[in-house]
Symmetry: C2
Subunit: 780 residues, 2 copies
């Protein structure tokens, strides 16, 4: 392992040298909004009140699948304090959503317990609840289906008749090489398995909802927990049958989104329709019970995966079939299939891949997309199988991964161009830091066994062209005090991206961080951006602000050139000053220079704008899913040390080492926080979190019954960043927002196997499953 040490030392020194060039970049900077959050001043959706505001509530289906025969709202309407009652017949009934298969208020049929049947706006919440109780709905119950494999059968109950069957019509199929002929070869080692991923929900602290305010001219302002305000603007306008410019979207402080902010939901459209009807602001905010019952989930999946390697350890082929349980409607969660495809075809060098994924309609809860967007699910399958293959090959699992790992210059089967890549280094560093000495290194402590597991990751890290634009706009104005206002499309949803964006502006302009103000909560004010997803905020938003800052800097150097009688090329910025690199006495501070330029006849002020859209390609069915969708890719390895109690089946996580290549780290404290948060979220996913369903109904919609990983279970987490600055990233940064949560589950499952020899292929890794596994192992 001495080579690892050497690499790290060099990387460390290099990093140190590089950091010295910068005044703000690479420094441990507190989150930009931390003051407002820790003092309780930050206004979340729950805090917002508008004059005359009404409270909205939604009546949902009594059955998982039923015909609506009649809705009688007359008793509800007669209740004093009820201002409006809506059912489908009062609305434009325009289908919306990823597959345009959803209506804000259902007509004819309900397809899940979540389905919205009627909505009420009243002067207070109590009255709204009373009104819901007074709405009488007659149903005719229909047979329902809750398993995607069952739902695909010909005689299964059909949810959307117009769709023909329960397979959503999106062809997520990719072929390269010839997997079948590899599997037929005698000289290869094949592993064939089925993995099952369960229902997990986002459990954002801020529950779902929307506050809509329609003015007297019909213009709609909507306060929404969205991650993609401009997409939301377009989609809600379409759903309401109005033009997008009649809608203004304001993001309050977001109490967690984690992917569920990608979609438009019935609640948003209903709040808007209630406000349009009443011409008063209407807020609908889910209770925690509603949030756990009716908010979306991560895509549950059944993954069938078969891989082959040569006896020498070369990965040869992989065949994957995925069934996603999309619930009653298709969300952006369907896109998880494309992330899974990219991982199957691109994580490790491989030549033969067959991939198919099918979102399947069921009468289960509506599933959405969640941090990692399919990668945590597929990674669990692939990286579990990598370990099994390595064992069959009798090759050390680290060694096996190193033999097949991506390198800079690689192009994946789908055409993704790997530029900077420190995959090997992440594997080596992770192995060393966790104390890997080869398989089955468990130490006995009575009935407790220890084990170590690894998993790697491959994910976009330079934007992701999942929509026709992956762009972000930024505008800058600098005031007489040298304060820099950045109007930027990129949102802040609690990840710390504003802090990175402020650092980039401060570094490029040579001003202290305290002089940067970010304005990005209002679609009326900020330039367009596609939204927060695919770990793109720092990379894309950073490049946008960098472009605008460069233009502002040029203007400033030109002004200073006249002031200091020095050629602009001899000037530099720093510490809020512009100075000559050669004559240090020539210097002027920002505020003074800007005032002088401003306070003169025909004066000027510094303003600039920039739109950054990366030169990437969409990868779609039309082009056989080929295309370089991102300007950069991230790599990483996580190692987990567990201790498992053979008597109880309980897994204690002792240590997680997360080694990630995310280019230059702009704000170490923020980056570490993102990785740690991702690790914890996936420990929780892999070990305890689970929506328990009974024929489509959530049985544990409270934090008493929906278990979360808490501070009591927390292991030591060591985050290490390796790799080089990425030439395409702002100051060399790559994205990292989702990466921490991707490999953790597989690493845990591999550690469990290392400890007990028990291979679990279904999450969560509960004590009863561990004990079942032990029993199976003993039986075999």
């Amino acid at each position: 392992m001495s080579s690892v040490q050497a690499t790290r030392t060099i990387a460390g020194e290099q990093a140190k040298l590089q950091l010295e060039e910068f005044s703000v970049i690479g420094k441990r900077v507190p989150k930009y909004d931390s003051f407002e959050k820790v003092t309780g001043r930050a206004q979340f959706l729950i805090d917002l009140k508008l004059p005359g505001m009404l409270h909205g509530k939604i009546l949902r289906s009594r059955y998982a699948h039923a015909k609506i025969l009649n809705i009688d709202t007359s008793r509800a309407e007669a209740i004093p304090g009820v201002v409006a009652v809506l059912t489908a017949k009062d609305t434009p009934r325009i289908k919306f959503g990823f597959m345009k298969d959803n209506l804000p208020l259902k007509e004819g049929k309900v397809l899940s317990y979540r389905d919205e049947v009627a909505a009420v706006a009243a002067i207070d919440e109590e009255t709204a609840i009373k009104a819901l109780d007074a709405i009488e709905v007659e149903y005719e119950r229909l047979p329902a289906v809750f398993d995607p494999l069952e739902a695909m059968k010909e005689n299964a109950p059909k949810l959307h008749e117009e769709n023909g069957g329960n397979l959503a019509k999106i062809p997520f199929s990719f072929r390269a090489g010839d997997v079948e002929s590899v599997f037929e070869r005698k000289d290869v080692i094949v592993d064939d398995g089925e993995f099952r991923l369960h229902f997990m929900t986002h459990v954002a602290l801020g529950t779902m909802g929307a506050l809509a305010s329609c003015d007297s001219s019909g213009r709609l302002t909507i306060y929404a927990n969205t991650q993609a305000p401009f997409m939301y603007q377009r989609e809600i306008a379409e759903a309401l049958g109005i033009s997008g410019d009649r809608v203004r979207v304001i993001q309050p402080f977001i109490g967690g989104a984690f992917g569920r902010g990608m979609d438009l939901y019935p609640v948003d459209v209903i709040a808007a329709m209630l406000s349009m009807k009443t011409k008063r602001p209407v807020k609908i905010l889910f209770s925690r019970e509603e949030d756990l019952s009716y908010a979306p989930t991560r895509q549950p999946a059944i993954i069938k995966i078969k891989s082959a390697a040569s006896r020498g350890g070369k990965l040869l082929a992989r065949k994957v079939v995925v069934y996603l349980d999309t619930g009653a409607y298709v969300s952006w969660g369907a896109f998880d299939a494309r992330v899974m495809m990219a991982t199957c075809s691109g994580q490790y060098r491989i030549q033969n891949v067959s991939f198919d994924a099918w979102p399947v309609y069921t009468n289960n809860p509506y599933s959405g997309t969640m941090r990692g967007a399919g990668n945590p699910q597929i990674n669990f399958a692939i990286e579990s199988q990598m370990d099994t293959l390595a064992e069959k090959l009798s090759i050390d699992p680290i060694e096996f991964r190193l033999m097949n790992s991506n390198r800079a210059g690689d192009v994946t089967l789908q055409g993704m161009q790997v530029t900077t890549c420190a995959m090997d280094e992440t594997l080596k560093v992770a192995a060393k830091e966790i104390g890997w000495k080869g398989r089955h290194c468990e130490e006995a402590r009575g009935k407790k066994k220890r084990g170590i597991g690894f998993s790697t990751l491959f994910h976009v890290a330079g934007g992701a062209r999942v929509y026709r634009s992956d762009g972000c706009g930024a505008m800058i104005k600098i005031d007489d005090f040298g304060k820099v206002t950045v109007l930027i499309g990129m949102s802040e949803i609690g990840t710390g991206s504003d802090t990175s964006i402020a650092q980039i502006a401060a570094e490029e302009l040579g001003v202290p961080l305290s002089k940067i103000e970010i304005v990005n909560k209002d679609t009326s004010l900020k330039p367009w951006d596609v939204g927060i997803h695919a770990s793109r905020a720092t990379f894309i938003g950073g490049n946008a602000v960098l472009g605008a800052a460069r233009s502002a800097r040029k203007q400033i150097l030109d002004l200073a050139s006249r002031e200091l009688l020095e050629d602009p090329s001899n000037l530099d910025v720093g510490n809020g000053e512009i100075y000559s690199k050669f004559s240090p006495e020539k210097r002027v501070d920002y505020a003074k220079l800007l005032r002088r330029s401003h306070f003169a006849s025909g004066g000027t002020m510094v303003m600039s704008s920039y739109f950054f859209d990366p030169p990437t390609e969409m990868s779609e069915a039309e082009n056989n899913f080929l295309g370089n969708i991102s300007m950069a890719y991230a790599f990483g390895t996580q190692a987990v040390l567990v201790e498992v109690d053979e008597e109880t089946g309980k897994i204690d996580v002792l240590k997680v080492v997360a080694v990630h290549d995310a280019g230059r780290i702009l704000n170490p404290v923020g980056a570490e926080g993102q990785i740690e948060g991702g690790v914890v979220m996936s420990l929780s996913y892999a070990l305890v979190e689970q929506l328990i369903l009974d024929e489509g109904m959530v049985m544990n919609p409270s934090f008493a019954d929906y278990k979360l990983f808490t501070s009591l279970e927390m292991p030591e987490i060591k985050v290490i960043f390796v790799g080089e600055p990425d030439p395409a990233g702002p100051f060399g940064a790559k994205g990292l927002g989702e990466h921490g949560c991707i490999p953790t589950a597989a690493a845990l499952a591999n550690a469990l196997y290392d400890a007990l020899g028990v291979r679990l292929q279904e999450l969560p890794l509960t004590p009863d499953r561990v004990l079942d596994g032990l029993e199976r192992k003993i039986r075999n």
Copy 2:
């Protein structure tokens, strides 16, 4: 008068022709914010509430002039619900204001009943009032002075010892030619008079106040009824001893400002200090009684004026001395002296001028600046005297004015360059429209006599460089729906300027008005602007938005050029489309073009910015008050027909004709409204409005006692615009915000003279003064 008719017809046809070129410019457009205002949705200061907000109240002096011996706040502090009590000793005590002679909370001495002695923040208004009552202040009363002429005497009580005397040390003196030798000549006609202008207050419907909110990091957000948010930002920061970029100023809907929004007031600083002390939002809002008692007034003035003309009717010389009663502190109202100077030296061709103006400290209410900024006062004196001179010369007053009027190409004695100028036409049209047939045309109706009077005006109309910058910045972004967001420094204070700015953007970009959104209420967002004053909003703000729109238009034509395969120079915009001027089939709508340009790899969006600062000069004591301070000047004539009851002295105004040259009129309905509003304000000023003072105390602080001109007294008002588009103005517009209110009072006084032969030189023209005048006339 046939020449007048001819001119008008040509002007009318010309105007018609010019209008046909435009789609939005010149159209009668409703005010941009009218929906929000008529539906009661507009949020004024009184409507604003922030979480945890406290209510502030100010304790004022018990005497017009006194020493403060002791302040005991202990009883007030002990009242439950009182969160903070401030006196001078708790504050930074940094002097602020136009002459830096004012403290937010006074120490040592109080100089007027308005003076702020202590302030309280409490959980509600009742508690705050209780706390004020519990504050004990010991005073030692001092002799006071309430007349500026008395105050100038050597033995008068001194207000500011450090000032040496009661004359504020600002030298407003201008000399050209040799007035005295003209006055000594035997062949000239001289008139020598003294005019007195009284206390009138702004009576804005929104009373004065401020809502300050200091966050935990010490950053201050302040909601203020200011007209000049960036000046306010700088000044309040200085008064608080913090940097300007720590202050964010938000203008809610402004319930009238009329000039009083130019200054920073103790109430603003006190609200901020209370919030900084309590770390909670604090709102102080004046009651109507406080507003009438303690808000500023128009500058009261004593004007001594002597003019001479040759017997042939040529104006030869004018000598003016003005004493402004500034009250206890000097405000931006002192600048009124410079506007008066410009009118004395520039209204009419003249070669010999001597002008001096002195703001004088008294223990009267604090006087400020008000619409017209001194011009309504000086115009009353000059234009009254012009009529008297004309009579002495036996020349028709219209003829006399025509003989001396400004023409295009003139340069005034102070160096103001007259470009477009339709002064003569305004005189001729006004005379015709009012039915002027020469002096004393009164018709007898029993004891009621009719009379006609005229007055002209000269005022800046292309910005006014009264500060080191007269600039305004604008930024534009255009979204995927073709909606244009304009972030502009220029504020909207209720005058309709946003509507003009939107028209300019819409016209230049060829989109409907409904596609323009103006963002200009927040210093954090908008680029710098000096503020709303000097009738500059449409001219300066219009040129700023025009610059940004031109740049956006160029980008759009370039994009369309690629889309339509047509040279950009062959393309034009209109009706939300870009089209070829030569191949009409080549056309694309905004939304489609912008989406195509946006939704492509390496896509782009349209953003632009522009800062407009006119190439004008400051005119200051240092350069002998020489300099072209504005890019354009406005001219006008008002004619008034009155009927006066000889028995009661009551003046009924029957008709006002207001003929104004304001360049091209962008929005006739808005322009007419501005002129009508000005006329009514000055009818009210000249006839009824008056603060009644008893040794510095306002005796009529309620609308029951402070009389306003209302709809019951309203005459017919006919507004006529003449003149040509100004080449420097946006689409040819000149300013007009203040102009309506400038000549009305003198025209009324001249009409009164025409009716009864009574010359009144003091406002208001009350029935008792009319009767006194009649008695004097009979006695003589």
